[in-house]
């Protein structure tokens, strides 16, 4: 049995290599890595705030003096006028633009790109601290802000990319591979040998899991990302790749040919990836996402990578994924025995 499984797994991987699927598996993490490199410009733990001041405007000396003295927090860029300053802001040459307020005397207007961004919060917090220091006020009520999730955009978005990679292999690659073997009658040819149905299914499952692991490993090697709690991370990647590979094989059995497998794959891919990946931004999406296996994978991975979560606190999700995997694997086995759409 083991010999047959190894033979069939190697055959599946050889097919993935020959039909260029392996390039897709390697290209996507590479593309993700390149995008993240371009997005995350500097170290996110601390970076100086670049404040733009309009050359012709006359700022209160105390304000100018205070900002200049806080050279570890701020750098100052002089902009010729307000319009130019706004253009610089859009081009991200500066983080904020200080203008003299027209409404109130001796007060400033801070122009930022987005009001609800982290950089805006950082500017306001720094100015507040400077003002209090300059005016000799008492200490801040809030002395520091500690984020629940550590890391910058690269690390923050890593769980989303991991989810995307896992679902891409599972819902786009795997169903097409299964349907191709059905369409070309290759599976029937293999069933003309003393190979058990379960051996073929396990081999297909292994090849799916290996492709997922290659993609994730490649992303980690490129980005040199911290694994959080390594053992818990590996446990969730393992059960996630098992669950979604089985799911993908099951979808493949529902299709007669590759074209329909690709369509069905996309139909399942988007509703799984979007609510889970966007759940951070919407209460409603979070409520919907709870019912999806993708969310039960995404949340623990996020927790392990960003919040120091451990598998000991995530057993329900782990068992849920295992059960979904076993259920879809059983359905695939049933359809194979019935020679469904072969």
């Amino acid at each position: 049995m083991i010999r047959n499984i190894i033979t069939l797994t190697l055959n599946d991987l050889a097919i993935a290599f020959k039909n260029k699927t392996i390039y897709l598996i390697l290209f996507i993490p590479f593309f993700v890595f390149l995008s993240l490199k371009l997005v995350d410009r500097t170290d996110t733990d601390f970076k100086k705030i670049n404040i733009g001041l309009v050359e012709k405007q006359i700022y209160a000396p105390v304000i100018l003096q205070t900002i200049k003295s806080a050279d570890k927090v701020f750098t100052i860029s002089r902009v010729p006028n307000e319009e130019e300053g706004k253009r610089w802001l859009k081009e991200k040459k500066i983080d904020g633009l200080l203008l003299i307020s027209e409404k109130e005397q001796n007060s400033l207007l801070l122009v930022v790109l987005k009001k609800e961004s982290l950089i805006t919060l950082s500017i306001v917090e720094s100015f507040s601290a400077l003002q209090k220091a300059a005016e000799g006020n008492s200490i801040n009520w809030i002395s520091d802000i500690k984020p629940l999730q550590e890391g910058g955009i690269q690390k923050q978005s890593l769980p989303t990319w991991i989810l995307m990679l896992v679902l891409l292999v599972s819902f786009i690659v795997m169903p097409a591979q299964v349907a191709e073997e059905k369409e070309k009658k290759l599976l029937l040819a293999l069933l003309q040998t003393p190979m058990r149905e379960i051996e073929w299914l396990i081999a297909k499952l292994f090849s799916g899991m290996i492709l997922i692991l290659i993609a994730i490993l490649f992303l980690h090697l490129l980005g040199n990302f911290d694994l959080g709690n390594g053992l818990s991370y590996v446990a969730f990647i393992g059960v996630g790749s098992f669950c979604f590979s089985s799911y993908g094989i099951f979808l493949g059995f529902l299709c007669r040919n590759q074209a329909s497998a690709r369509t069905l794959g996309v139909v399942f891919y988007l509703p799984h990836v979007l609510p889970s990946a966007l759940s951070d931004f919407s209460e409603k999406l979070t409520a919907v996402a709870h019912f999806l296996p993708s969310y039960q994978f995404y949340e623990p991975v996020k927790s392990i990578l960003l919040e120091e979560g451990r598998i000991s606190n995530l057993y329900p999700e782990w068992i849920y994924l295992l059960l979904v995997g076993l259920l879809t694997f059983s359905f695939a086995c049933l359809l194979m025995k019935k020679r469904w759409l072969m």
Partner: protein, 227 residues
């Protein structure tokens, strides 16, 4: 009896397929199953090869039931109409993969390559081979485990005259070696000198089963092919 078919039935939703059919085959027979398109020839052969699950009925090959696929595949070799080989890989890779699954020594592959004149093509990818060569690889693969019964579904479909002659020569050779052969065809005149027995299917029903000579003198042949 080497092969026993009892009330084998498979009806598709479009009311096509095979109506209850029974016949027996002795060792060493060379049987042609003929009939027009949609008569049920391929359905019958695919059920004998475990490609299709029958609705009802029973098949025994050397005493082995259809449900016992693991044992049956060593008794029955099946060559489908369109060769189903791994296109990306070489002739040798394809044969090795199936030899591994059958747990047959690779020495057998050399025999097959030699027997089917495939030695010059052993490293060629399947996708670059002609249909005739693909068919030879497909036949070679079905013979890896040396099964006593060989099933061929339209073995000469889409082949030129020379390749058709070559395939029929191979069938004769296998027959001479004592193999039991069942093949389908919709061109009875081509198999007149080849088959020892003819089974005629018409609209899913078995309408004739007897020696080749008797068939060509029968009304059935006249009704189905001459009128």
């Amino acid at each position: 009896m080497l092969l026993e078919v009892h009330n084998l039935t498979k009806v598709y939703t479009e009311k096509r397929g095979l109506l209850p059919t029974s016949f027996e085959v002795e060792k060493g027979e060379l049987i042609a199953i003929i009939g027009h398109n949609g008569a049920g020839k391929s359905t019958l052969l695919k059920m004998l090869a475990s490609w299709l699950l029958p609705d009802s009925g029973q098949v025994l090959v050397d005493g082995i039931k259809l449900k016992n696929r693991m044992a049956l595949v060593r008794k029955v070799g099946f060559v489908p109409e369109t060769p189903n080989l791994f296109d990306f890989f070489s002739v040798e890779y394809n044969l090795k993969l199936f030899a591994r699954l059958f747990q047959i020594p690779f020495l057998r592959i050399e025999e097959i390559l030699k027997e089917f004149n495939l030695l010059p093509f052993r490293n060629n990818k399947i996708q670059v081979l002609s249909k005739g060569l693909k068919q030879r690889v497909s036949i070679g693969r079905s013979l890896l485990a040396d099964p006593p019964v060989l099933l061929f579904d339209e073995p000469t479909s889409g082949l030129d005259f020379e390749m058709t002659k070559e395939i029929y020569r191979l069938l004769k050779d296998f027959h001479a070696l004592g193999k039991t052969i069942i093949f389908t065809s919709h061109r009875p005149e081509e198999i007149q000198t080849l088959a020892t027995r003819i089974i005629v299917l018409h609209q899913g029903s078995l309408v004739f089963d007897g020696p080749t000579q008797k068939y060509f003198q029968s009304e059935i042949h006249e009704k189905l092919y001459l009128l």
